[in-house]
């Protein structure tokens, strides 16, 4: 059977909705945890073994659970937060918990790329730890952070494909239920093409913004 254009457009909106909302919350969590992972490590501006040894394994645990399992494993939590465990909005909770820790590792890498000399200069000026983070580390890592965010966004699009498992809808769900389970090759083809265009567009935009940030 054929799939209506309306269905595809609807699915596209669902995907974009899930990606943007979970990117927003996941981004905040990721930046926060990423900064924490950097500044509390040994020898850094807010060295704190206690915090680091809590945050680090937590991030690892979330990173090691395959998303499809995380999706169902945290259903009680999802119900607690959004009131239901089924539907597009319900899918956002696991998506945030998936992308937050993932993005935090990318943020961590970006911030660690900043030359230690910059931090030394900041300290010699008598900057507070907070000033070092937002006046020195973040601006210097900015272009790299844009690329990290791009990577995280694309990873998120991939993850939304699995949201169908809890009735989240989206393009991936359409591809599975209509394309795979009902043998509609054309549906698979169309959704794949849309996803490819989406990913290409986001990567292109990310690269462009990154170059702009580096002024090249």
């Amino acid at each position: 059977m054929e799939v209506s254009t309306e269905l595809i457009v609807n699915a596209l909106w669902e995907t974009l909705y899930m990606v943007s909302v979970s990117l927003f919350f996941g981004g905040i969590i990721g930046i926060f945890l990423g900064i924490l992972l950097v500044v509390t490590r040994k020898g850094h501006i807010l060295e704190n073994r206690f915090i680091f040894s809590i945050v680090n394994p937590i991030v690892n645990i979330f990173r090691s659970i395959p998303f499809i399992i995380l999706l169902v494993a945290i259903i009680p939590l999802t119900r607690l937060i959004v009131g239901t465990s089924i539907g597009t909005t319900a899918a956002i909770v696991p998506l945030v918990l998936h992308i937050g820790p993932y993005f935090s590792r990318l943020v961590e890498n970006s911030l660690l790329e900043v030359d230690e000399g910059i931090i030394e200069a900041a300290k010699s000026m008598g900057a507070t730890p907070l000033q070092i983070i937002y006046r020195f580390l973040m601006p210097e890592a900015f272009s790299s952070l844009i690329l990290s965010l791009t990577t995280a966004t694309i990873g998120l699009i991939g993850a939304t494909a699995m949201a169908g498992a809890i009735g989240g809808g989206g393009l991936g769900d359409v591809a599975i239920t209509y394309g795979y389970q009902r043998f509609s090759t054309i549906t698979i083809l169309v959704t794949v093409i849309i996803l490819v265009i989406l990913v290409q567009g986001i990567q292109g935009l990310g690269n462009k913004l990154e170059r702009k940030a580096r002024r090249v």
Partner: protein
Amino acid sequence: MIEFRQVSKVFDSGGNKVEALRDIHLTVEKGDIFGVIGFSGAGKSTLIRTVNLLEYPTSGEVIVEGNLAKLSENEIRQAKKDIGMIFQHFNLLNSKTVFDNVAMPLLLSKLKKREIKERVHEILRFVGLEEKAKNYPDQLSGGQKQRVGIARALATNPSILLCDEATSALDPQTTKSILHLLKRVNEEYKITILMITHEMEVIKQICNRVAVMEDGHVIETGNVFDIFAHPKTDTTRNFVKSVVRDEVPESVYRLLKENNDESRIFKIEFFGTDSGQPIVSKTAKMYNVEINVLFGNITELQGIPFGNLIVELIGDDYEIKRAIAFIISQHIEVKEVLEDGSQHRIDRERFVGNALHG
């Protein structure tokens, strides 16, 4: 004034203890351009970092208007605004313009925008980079970047400037201009400068006092002229040699081999007071000797000539001895260059004695 009192620093990396500083006593007076020289690993980097507490001493005290380490975090941050620092690799923010880089310490102090603008332009004018205010660091040459570094360090009007190998990444020409700028900083702003370097040339050009470091110790300290004139340790001697060539060139030895009895070769060392040519021409006029300058290395230290001349004295033995005795009597050190490569310091009394006997 900066005072190091029994300062020691031990780095403990996994049970592997490294003593970077051992019992350092040092006083940098107000208005000094004080140089600390040493090979890498001598501890000089650690030493300069104890001044603004980028490193805390393990024991002992560093006094900069009191012991900073005893203040609260907040007070330390305030005190740091009185100590500027520049770095070998400049450590500028590549994401910010020259203006914003220089404005940074003022921004951290929460100054008003208008005040910041005024101060930044004033200090950029001083370092000669006013028209580069809107450029980014990656559009500047190494020397210009260091000028931005200096401007940034001076923005808060500090009374002390720390220079961490500030010219080591620069070519000799640029090094000269940066040193010249640092000298102006010292003279016009009355800023005390403490600099560490591994280049004796830097010490020679602008420092008035110097400390030589080796293996965590300060092995020699004094005013630059004394250290250059009378180095006490091998390390210091080697550093001095890197600027003022001391060895006798091969060609002189070759000449010695072909020499007849009528000529002898001497090294005349000048440590200031009486300089270069007059003594040579005077000697030649007063005694029946011909003086042939083979090799010379005279440089200037704080406006005082310093170095050595290798001369060949031709004449009969008696006249040569009298001529040398005269030079020695002018308080100038003379050493005879011998074929076996040794240089004998001429014993003054023996010479006077010989001269009398002859």
